[in-house]
């Protein structure tokens, strides 16, 4: 493990289930999340549906292929980007971690004697905790630029290696103003945000607005390249942020997370995110992508991680809605399952002895048919308890019955029935008849739920 400071878990952040508990208690938050996610989902669906058949799918695949090429040959693309930026009159800085990135911004601010900077909120600057770092250094941060504004720090969406151009797709005109008004413009960009060529931008300008806000095109797209005489900022600084990204590259399965273009489509379709909101994840970004990216940035493929980080890959039902929505086809469920294996099989998470023992026992029980038969027999013996009290199970299964009734095990497993009746051929009779069973409570048919007595 290196001494690099990772993307920080918010200090004292509890593991996901605990954080979710607090979020779920907030009725207003739940209602809001429900409404906003519903609106964005339908807007996005409309924007995608109006395209001719298969065009969206082709765009998604193109986006994934371009990003995979970037990831596979990252050093080459970054070198080319640096050359193009310098040729256009700009400066490139490399930041290994959040602290280095923040220190670079502070240094540039001091060089320009700026006691105040305009900070346009961005994923990368949130990731490094820039606002706090600036405050600690005695530099004030303002959110909007009214007039010629001195120094502005912002994020962006893409940087084009071929031309050294930075591209931002913003939500409002504040973003546009932030690239024209300041004297000095500092952009903090993740390493993976580089695109090889100018024409690649076309694909992403189709994908990003549609996936993000359901618009065909954002009216606030800015492109800026180096410095130009008598136009725009006099200083052009590009800070390229690693902060764990080069570690992510090492993981063949996990590195597809670096395709992410931060559109937040996966958040709005996630059954978990839309119930608990972003706070519960304690990561930037939150939601499904956060659940796979944060553990990687914090080094789960290299060393042990804390309990909060280890809880993130389990904060998903693996329903696949995120994969379906993702404009660059990140197979989030597959990465989640992969990370869970890193946490358990490779022992990178906090040890969970009880769970491990239970899994081993289950595996032992399932390894031979006769052992499964034995377990089924034991379950059948316990059925009377569950049939009478479907709301109380003991041990770890109590978490099931905290909010749900439990199905009562049947008197006879299928395999026993199949053997006994020769697959029903020797049985005859009607469907719900179980010969040899005289217990009156058992005539329940194929119900998943035990019926409550009135």
């Amino acid at each position: 493990m290196t001494a690099v400071r990772r993307e920080p878990a918010f200090l004292g952040m509890p593991p996901f289930p605990e954080a979710a508990h607090h979020a779920l208690a907030d009725r207003r938050l739940r209602a809001e999340l429900r409404d906003t996610s519903r609106t964005s989902r339908s807007r996005r669906a409309e924007a995608v549906d109006e395209l001719p058949p298969f065009v969206w799918e082709k765009l998604r695949r193109a986006g994934a292929v371009i990003k995979d090429d970037v990831i596979a040959r990252l050093p080459d693309h970054l070198e080319e980007l640096e050359g193009s930026v310098v040729a256009a009159g700009g400066t490139v800085h490399w930041a290994r971690d959040a602290d280095e990135a923040n220190a670079l911004v502070i240094r540039i601010a001091r060089e320009h004697a700026a006691a105040e900077v305009v900070g346009v909120p961005a994923a990368t600057t949130r990731e490094t905790g820039l606002d706090d770092a600036l405050a600690d250094a005695g530099i004030r941060v303002r959110a909007t630029a009214a007039a010629n504004a001195g120094l502005t720090v912002r994020g962006a969406d893409f940087a084009i290696a071929e031309t050294g151009t930075v591209c931002a797709v913003d939500a409002d005109e504040n973003g546009l103003r932030s690239v024209t008004l300041p004297d000095v413009l500092v952009t903090v960009l993740g390493l993976e945000q580089v695109l090889p060529a100018w024409r690649d931008l076309e694909v992403f300008l189709h994908l990003l607005p549609r996936a993000s806000t359901g618009e065909r095109m954002s009216p606030y797209v800015s492109l800026w390249t180096g410095v130009t005489d008598d136009d725009g900022p006099r200083g052009f600084h590009l800070i390229l942020l690693d902060n764990g990204r080069s570690d992510v590259l090492a993981d063949r399965m996990g590195r597809q997370a670096l395709r992410c273009i931060r559109c937040s489509a996966c958040l709005d379709v996630c059954p978990v995110y839309t119930r608990v909101g972003g706070q519960a994840y304690g990561s930037v970004p939150p939601g499904p992508i956060g659940a796979i990216l944060a553990p990687q940035l914090r080094g789960v493929n290299r060393h042990d991680v804390d309990a909060q980080t280890a809880s993130l890959p389990y904060a998903s039902t693996l329903c696949g809605a995120c994969f379906e929505a993702c404009p660059v086809r990140i197979d989030i469920p597959a990465v989640l399952a992969h990370q869970r294996a890193q946490l358990t099989d490779l022992g990178r998470g906090p040890a969970r002895h009880r769970e491990k023992a239970a899994m081993s026992a289950a595996r032992w029980g399932l390894a031979e048919p006769w052992r499964l038969g034995l377990a089924q027999h034991a379950a059948a013996l316990g059925r009377h308890v569950i049939a009478r009290m479907p709301h109380v199970l003991a041990g770890p299964l109590a978490r099931w019955t905290d909010g749900r009734d439990a199905p009562a095990p049947p008197p006879e497993s299928f395999r026993t029935w199949f053997k006994r009746t020769n697959g029903g051929l020797d049985e005859g009779g009607s469907r719900d008849e179980v010969p040899g069973d005289t217990d009156d409570e058992t005539a329940e048919g194929p119900s998943a739920t035990p019926r409550e007595e009135p």
Binding site: Y314, A315, D345, Q376
Partner: protein, 279 residues
């Protein structure tokens, strides 16, 4: 065609009636079905929880148990998805000296595994299975059937041909029910919160029966409905397709009865707009 039933450990233990329904249904359609006793579990629970080392031997045993058959039918979309999508991954990662045999077996067996509605519609080429079930039914497409396997409207096509059956549309049908296997225990509160919305949607349809092609999701939603005294029974698709008589225990349940919707404390309004279904 030698057909084998892969019932899954979960159904075998907790929902044997569903297995009997599959057997009865296939016989009615003129096919016999074998139940290889060596089968136990596809390893989904282990795989999804991160215990791949424990899942691999189960995948091996699966491939061995089902190798002799032309087709394997299972009433569980999530287990079918596990076999078809994840067993090849486990085989690819195997490193011991029997790894090649393992890979060959999985390559041969995994593509022959079908979820019930796929098997009926695609392999047997039937939609009308001759069932009679005079009740109002609503159908929940589980995430693994709809998104991972892509069974599409096959289950609905089968249900529409069932005599006497009235199909009630489920609002926000494509939303996850919140079960998620280990998620249901590890994040029990979030799981039940998601499931509560699904249960509420089910109750708003006024259906007597909720149907799906996976008993694990049904056990979760059914457990929530039961806890709320929702008055809706849950039945596996196989149980409905095998039926030839009214279900004796289904009380008439007036569609749209607002009394039931009001049981849900979070969304008390009986009718909500039905837009915004995610793609």
């Amino acid at each position: 065609m030698r057909i084998a039933l892969f019932l899954t450990c979960f159904n075998d233990t907790l929902f044997p009636e569903t297995g009997k329904s599959v057997v009865r249904l296939l016989r009615r359609l003129g096919h016999d079905v074998a139940f290889p006793y060596e089968q136990t579990c596809c390893g989904r629970m282990h795989f999804d929880s991160g215990y791949r080392r424990d899942a691999a031997p189960l995948a091996r045993a699966f491939a061995t148990a089902f190798a002799p058959y032309d087709a394997v039918v299972t009433p569980s979309a999530s287990c079918a998805a596990m076999v078809r999508g994840r067993h090849p991954l486990l085989a690819r990662d195997a490193r011991d000296k029997r790894a090649d045999a393992f890979r060959e077996r999985v390559d041969a067996v995994a593509p022959r595994v079908f979820e019930l509605s796929e098997f009926l519609v695609d392999v047997l080429g039937v939609e009308d299975v001759g069932a009679f079930f005079p009740h109002t039914v609503t159908y929940h497409p589980t995430c693994h059937s709809a998104r991972v396997l892509g069974v599409g409207d096959r289950p609905l096509r089968l249900l529409r041909k069932v005599r006497g059956l009235r199909l009630a549309e489920l609002p926000d049908a494509s939303e996850c029910c919140g079960f998620g296997g280990a998620f249901a225990l590890k994040n029990a509160e979030t799981s039940t919160a998601i499931g509560a919305d699904k249960a509420a949607a089910v109750m708003r349809t006024g259906a007597q029966v909720l149907c799906a092609d996976d008993n694990s999701c049904l056990a979760h939603i059914g457990g929530l409905l039961s806890r709320r005294h929702g008055g809706v029974r849950v039945l596996h698709l196989a149980d409905i397709l095998a039926a030839t008589a009214p279900h004796p225990e289904l009380a008439a349940y007036p569609p749209g009865d607002p009394a039931h919707a009001s049981l849900d404390p979070v969304h008390p309004a009986p009718d909500r707009p039905r837009e915004g279904v995610p793609r």
